[in-house]
Protein backbone atom coordinates (compact mmCIF):
# COMPACT_ATOMS: atom_id res chain seq x y z
CA UNK A 1 0.00 0.00 0.00
CA UNK A 2 1.32 3.40 -0.90
CA UNK A 3 2.04 5.54 2.13
CA UNK A 4 -0.03 8.67 2.52
CA UNK A 5 2.18 11.77 2.32
CA UNK A 6 0.40 14.88 3.49
CA UNK A 7 2.99 17.31 2.20
CA UNK A 8 2.90 15.82 -1.29
CA UNK A 9 -0.86 15.44 -1.38
CA UNK A 10 -2.85 18.35 -2.88
CA UNK A 11 -3.89 20.73 -0.15
CA UNK A 12 -6.91 19.38 1.74
CA UNK A 13 -9.21 22.20 2.82
CA UNK A 14 -11.35 22.16 5.98
CA UNK A 15 -14.70 21.81 4.21
CA UNK A 16 -16.23 24.42 6.52
CA UNK A 17 -18.61 27.00 5.00
CA UNK A 18 -20.53 30.02 6.28
CA UNK A 19 -24.06 31.30 5.63
CA UNK A 20 -24.42 33.76 2.73
CA UNK A 21 -23.68 37.35 3.71
CA UNK A 22 -22.44 36.25 7.11
CA UNK A 23 -19.42 38.56 7.30
CA UNK A 24 -21.33 41.63 6.07
CA UNK A 25 -24.00 41.09 8.73
CA UNK A 26 -21.38 40.26 11.35
CA UNK A 27 -19.88 43.75 11.21
CA UNK A 28 -23.26 45.39 11.81
CA UNK A 29 -24.11 42.96 14.63
CA UNK A 30 -20.77 43.53 16.31
CA UNK A 31 -20.97 47.33 16.13
CA UNK A 32 -24.44 47.17 17.64
CA UNK A 33 -23.14 44.93 20.49
CA UNK A 34 -20.20 47.24 21.17
CA UNK A 35 -22.34 50.41 21.21
CA UNK A 36 -24.74 48.71 23.67
CA UNK A 37 -21.82 47.84 25.96
CA UNK A 38 -20.50 51.40 25.77
CA UNK A 39 -23.79 53.03 26.88
CA UNK A 40 -22.91 55.09 29.93
CA UNK A 41 -24.66 54.09 33.12
CA UNK A 42 -25.65 57.22 34.94
CA UNK A 43 -26.26 56.41 38.55
CA UNK A 44 -29.06 58.06 40.49
CA UNK A 45 -26.39 59.54 42.70
CA UNK A 46 -24.62 61.31 39.84
CA UNK A 47 -27.85 62.68 38.42
CA UNK A 48 -29.08 64.18 41.69
CA UNK A 49 -25.72 64.91 43.25
CA UNK A 50 -26.65 68.40 44.50
CA UNK A 51 -29.78 67.15 46.23
CA UNK A 52 -27.94 64.27 47.83
CA UNK A 53 -25.23 66.57 49.14
CA UNK A 54 -27.86 68.94 50.56
CA UNK A 55 -29.73 66.11 52.27
CA UNK A 56 -26.51 64.70 53.72
CA UNK A 57 -25.51 68.14 55.04
CA UNK A 58 -28.90 68.63 56.71
CA UNK A 59 -28.74 65.17 58.28
CA UNK A 60 -25.25 65.80 59.64
CA UNK A 61 -26.33 69.13 61.16
CA UNK A 62 -29.46 67.55 62.57
CA UNK A 63 -27.42 64.86 64.29
CA UNK A 64 -24.68 67.23 65.48
CA UNK A 65 -26.87 69.98 67.06
CA UNK A 66 -28.20 67.94 70.01
CA UNK A 67 -24.69 66.67 70.71
CA UNK A 68 -23.25 70.18 70.60
CA UNK A 69 -25.99 71.46 72.94
CA UNK A 70 -25.45 68.67 75.41
CA UNK A 71 -21.72 69.21 75.35
CA UNK A 72 -21.98 72.96 76.01
CA UNK A 73 -24.50 72.41 78.87
CA UNK A 74 -22.24 69.86 80.47
CA UNK A 75 -19.40 72.30 80.23
CA UNK A 76 -21.44 74.95 82.00
CA UNK A 77 -22.41 72.64 84.87
CA UNK A 78 -18.84 71.33 85.13
CA UNK A 79 -17.50 74.83 85.09
CA UNK A 80 -19.79 75.86 87.94
CA UNK A 81 -18.77 72.89 90.10
CA UNK A 82 -15.10 73.42 89.36
CA UNK A 83 -15.44 77.09 90.07
CA UNK A 84 -17.12 76.51 93.42
CA UNK A 85 -14.46 74.04 94.47
CA UNK A 86 -11.76 76.43 93.40
CA UNK A 87 -13.29 79.28 95.36
CA UNK A 88 -13.82 77.11 98.45
CA UNK A 89 -10.14 76.22 98.60
CA UNK A 90 -8.82 79.67 97.83
CA UNK A 91 -7.85 81.10 101.21
CA UNK A 92 -6.64 84.34 99.65
CA UNK A 93 -10.18 85.40 98.69
CA UNK A 94 -12.06 86.88 101.64
CA UNK A 95 -15.79 86.54 102.18
CA UNK A 96 -16.09 90.32 101.77
CA UNK A 97 -14.48 90.08 98.33
CA UNK A 98 -16.86 87.29 97.35
CA UNK A 99 -19.86 89.30 98.53
CA UNK A 100 -18.70 92.31 96.50
CA UNK A 101 -18.85 90.16 93.36
CA UNK A 102 -22.51 89.20 93.92
CA UNK A 103 -25.37 91.26 92.49
CA UNK A 104 -28.96 91.40 93.79
CA UNK A 105 -30.05 88.49 91.62
CA UNK A 106 -27.25 86.25 92.88
CA UNK A 107 -28.09 87.19 96.50
CA UNK A 108 -31.80 86.40 95.97
CA UNK A 109 -30.85 83.05 94.42
CA UNK A 110 -28.81 81.95 97.42
CA UNK A 111 -31.15 83.48 99.96
CA UNK A 112 -32.55 81.00 102.48
CA UNK A 113 -34.85 81.45 105.40
CA UNK A 114 -33.02 81.29 108.65
CA UNK A 115 -35.06 80.71 111.70
CA UNK A 116 -33.04 82.69 114.19
CA UNK A 117 -34.08 83.78 117.58
CA UNK A 118 -32.92 87.07 119.17
CA UNK A 119 -30.34 85.32 121.35
CA UNK A 120 -28.64 83.74 118.31
CA UNK A 121 -28.53 87.11 116.53
CA UNK A 122 -27.06 88.81 119.60
CA UNK A 123 -24.37 86.12 119.91
CA UNK A 124 -23.36 86.50 116.24
CA UNK A 125 -23.19 90.29 116.43
CA UNK A 126 -21.24 90.39 119.65
CA UNK A 127 -18.54 88.12 118.18
CA UNK A 128 -17.99 90.40 115.15
CA UNK A 129 -15.19 92.87 115.74
CA UNK A 130 -16.08 94.89 112.58
CA UNK A 131 -19.60 95.60 113.78
CA UNK A 132 -18.94 99.27 114.39
CA UNK A 133 -17.50 99.64 110.85
CA UNK A 134 -20.60 98.09 109.26
CA UNK A 135 -22.85 100.46 111.20
CA UNK A 136 -20.86 103.60 110.29
CA UNK A 137 -20.55 102.60 106.56
Amino acid sequence: MEPFNLENHPKIKTGFTTPDGYFEQFSEKLLSTISQEEKPVISIFARNKKWFMAIVAVLILGIMIPFLNKFSTQNQSLDSASLENYLAYQTTITPEELVSLLDNEDIEAIETDLNLDDAAVETALSGNTYLENYITE
Binding site: I12, K13, G15, T18, I34
Partner: protein, 158 residues
Protein backbone atom coordinates in the same frame (compact mmCIF):
# COMPACT_ATOMS: atom_id res chain seq x y z
CA UNK B 1 -10.35 48.61 9.20
CA UNK B 2 -9.34 46.17 11.95
CA UNK B 3 -12.58 44.25 11.55
CA UNK B 4 -12.40 44.01 7.76
CA UNK B 5 -8.78 42.83 7.92
CA UNK B 6 -9.20 40.21 10.60
CA UNK B 7 -12.77 38.95 10.72
CA UNK B 8 -12.38 36.21 8.07
CA UNK B 9 -9.03 34.74 9.15
CA UNK B 10 -10.03 34.92 12.82
CA UNK B 11 -13.36 33.28 12.06
CA UNK B 12 -11.53 30.44 10.24
CA UNK B 13 -9.15 30.06 13.15
CA UNK B 14 -12.00 29.87 15.65
CA UNK B 15 -14.07 27.55 13.46
CA UNK B 16 -11.12 25.15 13.21
CA UNK B 17 -11.19 24.85 16.99
CA UNK B 18 -14.92 24.80 17.78
CA UNK B 19 -15.98 23.09 14.48
CA UNK B 20 -19.60 24.33 14.59
CA UNK B 21 -20.64 27.59 12.76
CA UNK B 22 -23.02 28.88 15.46
CA UNK B 23 -20.38 28.36 18.14
CA UNK B 24 -17.77 30.03 15.94
CA UNK B 25 -20.10 33.02 15.51
CA UNK B 26 -20.51 33.39 19.29
CA UNK B 27 -16.79 33.13 19.91
CA UNK B 28 -15.99 35.56 17.10
CA UNK B 29 -18.32 38.15 18.68
CA UNK B 30 -16.74 37.65 22.10
CA UNK B 31 -13.28 37.91 20.60
CA UNK B 32 -13.83 41.22 18.83
CA UNK B 33 -15.68 42.74 21.77
CA UNK B 34 -12.64 41.88 23.90
CA UNK B 35 -10.28 43.22 21.23
CA UNK B 36 -12.07 46.57 21.02
CA UNK B 37 -12.42 46.87 24.79
CA UNK B 38 -8.72 46.22 25.34
CA UNK B 39 -7.26 47.97 22.33
CA UNK B 40 -6.44 51.04 24.41
CA UNK B 41 -4.36 48.83 26.72
CA UNK B 42 -2.45 47.23 23.87
CA UNK B 43 1.00 48.71 24.12
CA UNK B 44 2.61 46.91 21.19
CA UNK B 45 4.44 44.30 23.27
CA UNK B 46 3.69 41.89 20.44
CA UNK B 47 2.34 42.30 16.93
CA UNK B 48 -1.34 43.22 16.75
CA UNK B 49 -1.90 40.09 14.65
CA UNK B 50 -0.45 37.84 17.40
CA UNK B 51 -2.36 39.66 20.12
CA UNK B 52 -5.73 39.23 18.34
CA UNK B 53 -5.01 35.58 17.52
CA UNK B 54 -4.09 34.93 21.15
CA UNK B 55 -7.40 36.37 22.33
CA UNK B 56 -9.30 34.34 19.72
CA UNK B 57 -7.49 31.10 20.66
CA UNK B 58 -8.16 31.58 24.37
CA UNK B 59 -11.81 32.44 23.77
CA UNK B 60 -12.31 29.40 21.52
CA UNK B 61 -10.64 26.93 23.89
CA UNK B 62 -12.49 28.35 26.90
CA UNK B 63 -15.78 28.11 25.01
CA UNK B 64 -15.08 24.54 23.93
CA UNK B 65 -14.11 23.44 27.44
CA UNK B 66 -17.20 25.06 28.94
CA UNK B 67 -19.51 23.47 26.37
CA UNK B 68 -17.89 20.06 26.86
CA UNK B 69 -18.29 20.39 30.63
CA UNK B 70 -21.99 21.30 30.28
CA UNK B 71 -22.41 18.11 28.23
CA UNK B 72 -20.49 16.06 30.76
CA UNK B 73 -17.56 15.39 28.41
CA UNK B 74 -13.89 16.18 28.13
CA UNK B 75 -13.20 18.69 25.36
CA UNK B 76 -11.52 15.95 23.30
CA UNK B 77 -14.53 13.61 23.56
CA UNK B 78 -16.82 16.53 22.79
CA UNK B 79 -14.83 17.38 19.65
CA UNK B 80 -15.00 13.76 18.50
CA UNK B 81 -18.78 13.84 18.89
CA UNK B 82 -18.88 17.07 16.85
CA UNK B 83 -16.88 15.38 14.09
CA UNK B 84 -19.28 12.44 13.99
CA UNK B 85 -22.10 14.95 13.34
CA UNK B 86 -20.09 16.89 10.77
CA UNK B 87 -21.49 15.08 7.73
CA UNK B 88 -25.00 16.23 8.69
CA UNK B 89 -23.83 19.80 9.42
CA UNK B 90 -25.38 22.40 7.04
CA UNK B 91 -22.17 24.36 7.01
CA UNK B 92 -19.83 21.49 6.16
CA UNK B 93 -19.46 20.74 2.48
CA UNK B 94 -16.36 18.56 2.67
CA UNK B 95 -15.82 15.38 0.67
CA UNK B 96 -14.70 12.00 1.97
CA UNK B 97 -11.03 12.89 2.35
CA UNK B 98 -11.79 16.22 4.07
CA UNK B 99 -14.00 14.44 6.58
CA UNK B 100 -11.34 11.77 7.10
CA UNK B 101 -8.71 14.43 7.77
CA UNK B 102 -10.98 16.11 10.37
CA UNK B 103 -11.43 12.72 12.08
CA UNK B 104 -7.67 12.17 12.09
CA UNK B 105 -6.96 15.61 13.57
CA UNK B 106 -9.44 15.26 16.44
CA UNK B 107 -7.55 12.19 17.71
CA UNK B 108 -4.44 14.32 18.37
CA UNK B 109 -3.67 15.92 21.76
CA UNK B 110 -5.12 19.44 22.09
CA UNK B 111 -1.89 21.38 21.58
CA UNK B 112 -0.82 19.25 18.63
CA UNK B 113 -4.24 19.79 17.02
CA UNK B 114 -3.85 23.53 17.37
CA UNK B 115 -0.34 23.58 15.91
CA UNK B 116 -1.37 21.39 12.99
CA UNK B 117 -4.49 23.37 12.14
CA UNK B 118 -2.72 26.74 12.37
CA UNK B 119 0.21 25.56 10.26
CA UNK B 120 -1.59 23.36 7.72
CA UNK B 121 -4.99 25.02 7.22
CA UNK B 122 -4.23 28.61 8.19
CA UNK B 123 -0.63 28.62 6.87
CA UNK B 124 0.67 30.74 9.73
CA UNK B 125 4.46 31.01 9.81
CA UNK B 126 6.34 29.29 12.64
CA UNK B 127 7.69 32.63 13.97
CA UNK B 128 4.14 34.03 14.19
CA UNK B 129 2.88 30.76 15.69
CA UNK B 130 5.61 31.02 18.30
CA UNK B 131 4.43 34.52 19.27
CA UNK B 132 0.78 33.48 19.42
CA UNK B 133 1.20 30.23 21.34
CA UNK B 134 4.21 31.22 23.42
CA UNK B 135 6.14 28.13 22.32
CA UNK B 136 9.57 28.00 20.69
CA UNK B 137 9.84 27.52 16.93
CA UNK B 138 11.75 24.28 17.50
CA UNK B 139 9.05 22.83 19.73
CA UNK B 140 6.37 23.87 17.25
CA UNK B 141 8.20 22.20 14.35
CA UNK B 142 8.57 19.00 16.40
CA UNK B 143 4.88 19.10 17.37
CA UNK B 144 3.81 19.61 13.77
CA UNK B 145 6.06 16.79 12.56
CA UNK B 146 4.53 14.34 15.10
CA UNK B 147 1.02 15.46 14.18
CA UNK B 148 1.67 14.89 10.47
CA UNK B 149 3.02 11.39 11.13
CA UNK B 150 -0.06 10.40 13.14
CA UNK B 151 -2.43 11.83 10.55
CA UNK B 152 -0.67 10.08 7.69
CA UNK B 153 -0.92 6.79 9.65
CA UNK B 154 -4.66 7.33 10.17
CA UNK B 155 -5.30 8.30 6.54
CA UNK B 156 -3.50 5.18 5.38
CA UNK B 157 -5.24 2.72 7.71
CA UNK B 158 -8.78 4.13 7.72
Amino acid sequence: MLLSSYQKPIYSHIRNIVLNHDDADDVLQNTFVKVFQNLKNFKGESKLFSWIYRIATNEAITFLNAKAKRNGNTSNDFQQKQIENLKADTYFEGDEIQLKLQKAIVLLPEKQQLVFKMRYFEEIKYEELSEILGTSVGALKASYHHAVKKIEEYMLTN
